[in-house]
Symmetry: C2
């Protein structure tokens, strides 16, 4: 009948997991140490045995989210045919970024809108950033992008999709109908790609990726619907 063992087992990991649930809907502000502790049947200050302060926990949560996003980016890279492959790959990275932001607004905010704290964005968030730069490098290898244009191009691409995500989540596109947002997302990604490459892509090239759903990843449990 020993109701609760004094030691939790792996409180650190449990906190991160609870942090993921807590922030999923409400973003960074929804993470309250006392709530997490209570949910795990543990004293409020127990948290401080594993994280120096609240932001440290938020960073750990963000790291988990970033890894998850990178996984989705790579999922999209499947099933594309020879010639356009490199461009489609870059396109997939961008669309995956936006799709993730829309499907998991809370988590996205934790990872990329750290609101005041020196979040993971300080140093490029390793996994998704790598997916982007590798896609760009691929274009160079394929001979479609000059290495002069390549330099720094990741910032231009990231700016566009990151900004679009911001407008959709916290901005004027928040109440925009989903299909319309879909179209705008594609146009944004295509526009920045065209601008970066210095070439205008033919319209028919775009249709290749069209049929693909926004998030070809098994969704976990309850997905918060976009209103």
């Amino acid at each position: 009948m020993d109701a609760k063992p004094y030691h939790h087992g792996d409180l650190r990991q449990a906190l991160i997991q609870a942090g993921l649930e807590a922030t999923r809907l409400g973003g960074p502000d929804a993470l309250r140490l006392r709530d997490l502790a209570r949910a795990l049947g543990v004293s409020a200050n127990a948290v401080y045995r594993h994280f120096e302060h609240r932001d440290a926990l938020l960073d750990a949560v963000a790291a988990e989210i970033l890894a998850s996003l990178a996984r989705e980016m790579r999922m999209r890279e499947a099933g594309q045919f020879a010639h356009d492959r490199a461009i489609q790959r870059l396109r997939s990275v961008g669309l995956a970024y936006i799709a993730f932001a829309r499907r998991e607004p809370g988590w996205f905010s934790v990872a990329f809108f750290g609101a005041g704290r020196d979040g993971l964005l300080a140093t490029p968030p390793a996994p998704p950033y790598a997916a982007l730069t590798e896609a760009l490098d691929d274009l160079v290898r394929e001979g479609v992008l000059s290495s002069e244009r390549r330099s720094g191009a990741q910032w231009l691409c990231w700016s566009a999709v990151h900004g679009f995500a911001g407008l959709v989540l916290h901005g004027p596109l928040r109440h925009c109908a989903a299909p319309e947002v879909d179209r705008l997302a594609e146009r944004t990604v295509d526009a920045i790609i065209a601008g970066v490459m210095g070439t205008v892509r033919r319209a028919d090239a775009r249709r290749a990726d069209r049929g693909m759903p926004d998030a070809p990843v098994q969704r976990s449990a309850s997905e918060p619907a976009m209103p």
Copy 2:
């Protein structure tokens, strides 16, 4: 010797002004009701006679900031010659947006990163948004942009500059040297413009705007330096 009159005079306006000062460096989180009240020599709860809650004050502060940004956008539109004028105008709007974000990160955050609250971004922030759409309409009038491409183009443009601002303020470009950021900002704006218009701009066209400093606006008092 009546040290202090019981009534402040125009507390509402004074609160907005104090809010501007408070958020200038620290962003939305730096606005604390008690601090403002103390600074104005007034009780903490006096605030509630003029604003229903904290967020209402933040919204009022944001409105002031947005008006200020729009003013700067229009400043840039001066002194451009005939033919390229329309494109330069759009370019100015974008660069002004980014310049403002860099020069006044706190205020920019209040206006565009309302962090959780349903900020002014819900409905397009009137003044700067108007500057953008008018610049785009100008391109159509000039015959440089088809009206098909025009539709929704404001979102693509806004995404790019907004995202870039995000990367510079809270993101990986935070510790990037200013001149490098300048260059990236120009490339981002030019890339999205090219992508939106479906045409690649010639390199020499870019130099026209080069000499112009980042913020041709009289700076007020102490400008927070970029590290």
